[in-house]
């Protein structure tokens, strides 16, 4: 896999998340695509050895951004990368951006990330859409800040409406297109509620990000497919959870 050095434009904290934007002179990412990223430094890194996958949160005029939570060493090091990171080109099959609304965008937790760029593209096309973002509590809801007019739900009711993102969205059948990203149980519920054409962005552990390792598979009707090449966005009807 080819990694490219990218200058960090801005590194800021957004509640419990980190928003990192970097100059990306290459091909513009499609909504729902992801990148493999790691701190820049001494050629090859042994610690961590693998790069980390992140959805592209946003992209505008040569600047891409990632929104992430610090979980382990990989994200902790990226959260300190104020000058340069190493990053792959945009990878995978993103959302297919619809031409007609209304569309619903549902995000759970840090799974809201890829919806930002999707929402931007839908707006550019003038496609009517609503954004529903669910979090455990108000402390995590800062991830909603970048979205124009999101409906926010928290499980404990400490911010926005009380309940799940599905509670907040109501009947999904009234949308022509449904997009979702979040924990697997949420995605499964969205698939059930919205039907087989709902576009779900799944998350599986990755080795390479470019299809080489067969590590990131998800069960589908066609057997195990690689979420980094055939995904990370699948139609609900394709998945065989």
């Amino acid at each position: 896999m080819r990694f490219l050095p990218a200058a960090v434009e801005r590194l800021q904290s957004l509640g419990r998340y980190v928003l990192l934007s970097y100059r990306w002179p290459g091909e513009p990412p499609q909504p729902g695509q992801f990148v493999m990223a790691r701190p820049a430094g001494w050629g090859l890194s042994m610690d961590p050895f693998l790069a980390r996958p992140f959805s592209v949160y946003d992209y505008e005029e040569g600047v891409a951004s990632l929104l992430f939570e610090v979980r382990g060493r990989g994200t902790a090091l990226l959260a300190r990368a104020s000058e340069e990171i190493e990053v792959s080109p945009p990878l995978g099959r993103g959302f297919s951006v619809c031409r007609e609304g209304p569309a619903a965008l549902l995000g759970g937790g840090v799974g809201v990330a890829p919806l930002r760029l999707l929402s931007r593209r839908l707006s550019e096309r003038g496609v009517e859409h609503e954004v529903f973002l669910g979090f455990a509590d108000a402390g995590l809801a800062a991830a909603a800040e970048g979205f124009p007019e999101p409906v926010v739900a928290t499980m404990d009711g400490s911010f926005g409406v009380r309940g799940t993102v599905l509670d907040a969205a109501g009947d999904l059948r009234r949308y022509r297109a449904v997009y979702a990203c979040g924990p697997n149980p949420m995605l499964a519920a969205v698939g059930l509620a919205a039907g087989p054409e709902a576009q779900l962005s799944v998350e599986e552990r990755m080795g390479c990000g470019n299809g080489s390792c067969n590590g990131c598979v998800v069960p589908t009707r066609k057997g195990y497919l690689r979420s980094c090449v055939e995904g990370p966005v699948f139609e609900a009807g394709e998945l065989a959870w």
């Binding site: 896999m1 090859l44 050895f49 080795g207 080489s212 990131c216």
Partner: protein
């Protein structure tokens, strides 16, 4: 300054560079990166029938390495051969096969030989063997000998590389050589376990690869190259041009790059190796085994 000579000869096949992608670590989708880097290409191991592979999670990170348990997911040999065209990028194509029985190994070799496009066949001798109750083939020299001999008969004209596990590598290498292998790939991933202490569960039961295992692979290559006459292909933790040189000095004729390809552009590894050769004033083929005990006086090295 003249560019150093990178080409090497392996079992009668001329490779423009000594680098080969390790089986299962380079997808056709990523072949673009491989142009000009690899002396041969080597797709993921293929089996007689399609294999689903193991349920996820399939990969976990470990210090300076990773543990994988892919379970040989592949479309089966017929579909594989239909799609083999994607691998033809102007360098020899090696094909890796694995059977669950001796007969399957032989059938696979026969089929691949009949197809005619494989410049060499690599026998993945560390896959599950249903004939022997879940034991791996590499479990012992007699199993290795039996498989290699059957494959030799089934594909008399295609160079055969036996890819060996770490456990018992020298004895298995000698068995493969005796049974007619043309070369030896040393080594595969090493059996490993990844545990999630917080979730209190086994994350993954699989094989360790990456830089962590490099000292083990170097030792295995050195010991095998000291004991066997046929050429050795080094594999395990190669990440840099210096690593390529280390393996070749320790006795490898060519070197496979596996996990490192997930985190680096392999062209960088080749560039580093080229710089090394230039600075040392050597050709790639001159490294081969420079550290080994003199030819003719090659006992199996003793411990410590």
């Amino acid at each position: 300054m003249v560019a150093p000579e990178l080409s090497v000869e392996l079992c009668g096949v001329r490779l423009a560079t000594p680098l080969i992608p390790a089986s299962g670590t380079l997808a056709p989708e990523a072949l673009g990166e491989a142009a000009g880097v690899y002396g041969a290409v080597l797709p993921k191991t293929v089996t007689l029938r399609p294999r689903q592979g193991n349920p996820p999670p399939r990969v976990a990170e470990s210090p300076a390495g990773m543990v994988n348990s892919i379970g040989l997911q592949n479309p089966g040999v017929e579909e594989f051969l239909r799609a083999l065209g994607a691998w033809e990028v102007g360098v020899p194509v090696f094909v890796s096969v694995a059977g669950e029985t001796v007969e399957e190994f032989a059938l696979l070799c026969g089929r691949v030989a009949a197809d005619g496009r494989a410049a060499a066949i690599e026998l993945n001798l560390s896959c599950p063997n249903v004939e022997r109750g879940g034991q791996v083939f590499c479990a012992g020299p007699s199993a290795v000998e039996e498989v290699v001999a059957a494959c030799r008969r089934a594909a008399p004209d295609v160079p055969l590389l036996a890819k060996l596990a770490l456990e018992g590598v020298v004895q298995n290498a000698l068995a493969a050589e005796a049974a007619g292998a043309d070369g030896l790939t040393v080594m595969n991933t090493v059996p490993a376990l990844a545990v999630d202490a917080r979730a209190r569960r086994v994350l993954l039961r699989g094989g360790l690869s990456g830089p962590a295992i490099k000292p083990l692979a170097l030792r295995a290559v050195y010991d095998v190259a000291s004991a066997a006459e046929i050429p050795v292909v080094g594999c395990g933790g190669v990440c840099s041009g210096a690593d390529v040189a280390e393996f070749m000095l320790a006795g490898a004729r060519a070197v496979q790059v596996g996990s490192a390809g997930f985190v680096r552009d392999p062209a960088e590894i080749l560039a580093e190796f080229e710089r090394y050769l230039r600075e040392e004033g050597l050709a790639a083929s001159e490294l081969a085994g420079a550290l080994l005990p003199a030819q003719g006086a090659r006992p199996v090295p003793s411990e410590r």
